[in-house]
Symmetry: C2
Subunit: 634 residues, 2 copies
């Protein structure tokens, strides 16, 4: 294992066109429109505790549950996303809207610090009675992440103060001591927020509370049993049938298979990796590694989608990866980015960065439309044309997970230790990094992900010795590099997916890295029954799909790609803000001339045709139509 | 169009081994075990109106709905199935159990004739307030079908009397006159029962009431709107979103596309076809023909499954026929048999008989296990091995639809007019048919569906002229026939799928019919995206599948059938009660040696292998495992 410990990810300025466009869209379209939607759907109003409360917008289901109990979290995530945007460019209007929310939260907060608007407004005597289902700590977690981001972007700490009072209340309420509830949240999230709060404040008590929640989870006697009985319910009547749903079926260190709700799982694993790093806890790290291997060997879509099933929004069996019914919630891919980054924080291992990149380009980006105001909640890899983006969603969790991830994407490119820097992603960034022996200015220039030609300029205050680690993606075969024009031996210099260059760096030093990006055919493990006989196309980090708008003449599922067909790249400046498409000769199974019958004993005719493939993340931005990632191979 | 009007289907004695085995299983295993299940699940108890009522077994869902409102129908369907069994062989124990139910119903009936145990017990003041959702008339329909069958089997008419009183109450309550409710049931069924009652009693009022319900359906102002408002609800809050769900979105004669819940649709079309025949109503007949064409050209699985979607238990878009998520409820295939038989009653057209046979062998039969005590509710055409039969179901509708269909299957083989007889199904039967010019005894002998060699002996009381119509199935190419050893020209003698032989028949006359049954490859319309590049295997009326137990070494989805592979038949006396399997050389995509990675750029290896296919209706009777109908073709 490479000894580099990228103890901190550093902020970067996004300069490349690819990410500038997404950032600009999020700043100017997504954040404002999301605020409008939060208002339109009653979510902002719910913070003001109207008395009497308005009727439920979303009736309770048979589990006596309404999605409205999440609403605080939506507000928190919007503040977080907006604050990341503000860190790029301040905006008085957005800040005023946040201040209004802070006013409301300040008024809503109970004297003892408790602050959950659903309970305060509708069920004030029932707080902390249903941690399993009702998301109180989850909501706090998202508000807290919002409060931290807002403080970092603006220096204003009123929201943070409110939430720290609430955290103090939570710390008194939960724990192993007499008089405390030995509970934890049914939806993991508070742990991540508390670790961020610890990193911000340096106060150990926040880390300890996060560790308590993780360590307590799944212990016997089971808290959710206890809590159900206290509500007068039988624990056996849990609507999700099993505590696997929320990963509390056993203590976290004893979990070896990824089960249950995908977003919950990813948030928990992210917190476990964080705690492993902060507490130097090898047992947590090992648990993360085992769970990582389980996901990667049998449970992840090629697009990084996680959780095939709508029923539990989560995991099922090994190799169960249906394409047209894939749930693959956008939030789960965003959360996978969190987890991968934290694993990378533990070990500089390109496997983690590969997955982080894969989830970023093919998962998180897919969730947000080009116009910045439409969303995918689920992400099938095959559609007959009925699947399309939403302007909003009953449960709008994915909308703000997309915006907060994209607005903060700069935080995933580069990390640094005392004497080393690591590049994980490319795409045009600049940053200042403080190393033990001085400040270093770095500028990475590329047209990534469209091109693998990368140039890095390095300017140190004074010549200094340090190491630059450059990720050589797992998909890049035959990478080459130079320093100031002199070739570097990539083969011998690379371990665990990173090319390490250690030298005395002087102002004006330049690294070039060439990552070949030929179109690639990808096959799935034969146990993935839906993908047998099929092939997917990739180029660089991007998974491609065929979409009907580019392939008119019937459903795209009627196309077959011959195994020996040559796949060409085409730069299409006219599409979106410029993309590289893939084209190949293909066969089209013809429905013309088939006739009226649905079945017959004569095979359909096939004609010579051509297919055009587009990066998956761009699909359904022009018109509705069929789409497919896994093509029949002939 | 053939002029033959098979005005009546006649009862036959089942003599062939294929149906004798199923009948015996239903008589000795299914009917008794279903009664045990009805008891175990509280369904029988619910007839006794315990006071106070026990807690709900199935909590209300978010639509304030529990499946317990159907329970009367389950009892009715069991009585019907049991009565068909009694018509084969009386059984004092079963009859005593039915009598106990009749005692309970007699006690439960309100003085005004109303008899719905759910409402009488739990919501006595709410009867007839939610026809849209709560199945009151549907329940009566099934009880009435049960009462008619019980009367026909035993001559006992107490149950029928009870239900006729209830029908009288319904007739007073519903109709277009002042003081009446202009309603109809959200789940069609009562119409079929009333038409049966009319045929039994000859009383026109029952036919009129059935016609009223069909004619009223979908008229504006919409009854379900009116009824929702009366309950204090907004009609726009209908949980199913659209009245397409229950086919009341427009008047039945204006419906041209099949939409909504599949069983509801099939029951309604069956009633429409019945009314078209009884009332000589061409507009209803034409509506049926248009709807029939819509189903057959774009909405039916090769197995006869109907309704791809679980969400509405019903229809979606044209060509939307996913295999692994196919809902294809067993009840819908049973109900398709009802509809097809009634279309055949309107016109002697082999297309209807073909579908009836297809649904019988590949749909209805599939629903019941070999042991007679396990059921499929949904019928996917592809499984990774997780799908398997239930011992019972929360909503046990399919269990008794299977048993009542199989116990009455003899009613689908032969129909007769004044001077003609038509054979629709084969498989070993005998029957007496009364024609205008005398009684005819017919015995059909065959090992159908395993063999297409059919022999029909005819004995008339005295030599008589009449026509024998023999169905030449749509799948049978090159059929040949003889009468008393003399060849008959099948080509010129056949129209609309029936070979007509008119002559003076004498005792001892013998027809032979030879229906060649080579294994067939079947292809789906290329717009069925899931089946592109795939092939299904059929032989005679049977659709085949590959099941893991016969094809060990990985998932059956890893098998590919070369287009030019020779498919052989094999008679397997050792399997079940003797079946014909299909075998062919195949390729197997190998997972051995693939390694740990889920995706890679090298295609998997394929090895020469062999596949064995079994009739689809027999799958999941030995052990759990993967199964597939549509095989990849190489």
């Amino acid at each position: 294992m490479n000894e580099f410990k990228p103890v901190r990810f550093v902020d970067v300025a996004l300069e490349g066109q690819f990410w500038r466009e997404r950032l600009e869209t999020v700043l100017t379209r997504t954040i404002p429109s999301q605020h409008v939607q939060l208002g339109k759907h009653g979510i902002l109003e719910s913070l003001t505790l109207p008395n009497p409360p308005p009727p439920l917008r979303f009736p309770r289901n048979e589990h006596n549950f309404t999605v409205q109990v999440f609403w605080d979290s939506d507000v928190g995530k919007w503040i977080e996303a907006a604050s990341y945007a503000l860190s790029h460019r301040r905006d008085a209007d957005i800040e005023a809207r946040i201040e209004k929310i802070v006013d409301d939260l300040e008024k809503a907060q109970a004297p003892d610090g408790y602050l959950n608007c659903w309970y305060l407004q509708r069920e004030p005597d029932k707080r902390w009675t249903n941690l399993r289902d009702n998301h109180e700590l989850y909501n706090l977690g998202h508000l807290l992440e919002g409060g931290i981001a807002y403080f970092l972007a603006t220096g204003r700490r009123r929201l943070l103060d409110i939430l720290e009072r609430y955290v103090d209340h939570v710390r008194k309420t939960f724990g192993p001591n007499p008089g405390q509830k030995r509970g934890y949240c049914g939806h993991q999230e508070i742990e991540l927020a508390l670790i961020k709060l610890y990193r911000l404040t340096g106060e150990r008590k926040h880390l300890d509370l996060a560790a308590y929640f993780i360590n307590e989870r799944g212990r016997q006697p089971h808290y959710f049993d206890h809590e159900a009985v206290a509500r007068g319910e039988s624990p056996r009547d849990f609507w999700a049938k099993s505590y696997e749903y929320n990963q509390s079926h056993r203590p976290v260190r004893e979990q070896t298979k990824v089960v249950g709700h995908a977003v919950r799982a990813m948030y928990m694993f992210s917190a476990m990796a964080d705690l492993a790093a902060e507490l130097n806890d090898d047992s947590l790290k090992q648990a993360c590694e085992v769970l990582w291997a389980d996901v990667m060997t049998s449970k992840i879509y090629i697009t990084s989608g996680l959780g095939p099933a709508a029923a539990n929004e989560g995991f099922t069996e090994d190799y169960d990866l249906p394409n047209d019914t894939a749930y693959a919630e956008t939030c789960a891919s965003v959360a996978l980015i969190f987890w991968a980054q934290r694993m990378l924080h533990l070990d500089l291992d390109g496997r983690y960065a590969d997955v982080m990149e894969q989830a970023l380009f093919n998962g998180a980006l897919t969730g947000l439309s080009r116009d910045g105001e439409h969303y995918f909640y689920s992400n099938p890899l095959d559609s007959d044309g009925r699947h399309s983006r939403w302007a909003w969603h009953t449960c709008p969790c994915c909308t703000m997970n997309s915006s907060r991830l994209i607005a903060s994407v700069g935080g995933y490119f580069v990390s640094a230790s005392e004497d080393a820097i690591a590049f994980h992603l490319y795409g045009g960034i600049s940053t200042n990094v403080r190393l033990a022996n001085g400040n270093v200015f770095l500028r990475e220039t590329s047209a990534y992900p469209w091109s693998g030609s990368i140039r890095i300029e390095i300017s140190a205050d004074a010549p200094a010795e340090f190491t630059v680690n450059l990720r050589i993606p797992g998909w890049a075969r035959g990478a080459s590099a130079t320093v100031n024009g002199e070739p570097v031996d990539v083969g011998s210099g690379t371990s665990n997916g990173y090319l390490s260059i250690s030298r005395l760096w002087s102002a004006g030093d330049t690294i070039t890295l060439e990552l070949p990006m030929p179109p690639e055919r990808i096959y799935a493990h034969p146990s993935v029954k839906e993908d047998v006989g099929r092939v997917a196309l990739k180029r660089g980090p991007l998974v491609y799909c065929v979409e009907e708008v580019d392939n008119p003449g019937g459903r795209v599922q009627q196309l077959k790609l011959p195994r020996d067909a040559s796949i060409e790249t085409e730069s299409r400046g006219d599409l979106f803000d410029g993309v590289v498409t893939l084209t190949a000769p293909a066969q089209r199974v013809e429905d013309q001339g088939w006739g009226d019958s649905l079945y017959r004993s004569t095979p359909p005719a096939a004609s010579e045709s051509k297919l055009t493939a587009l990066p998956y993340y761009l699909w359904n931005n022009r018109q509705k139509g069929s789409m497919q990632v896994w093509l029949l191979e002939s």
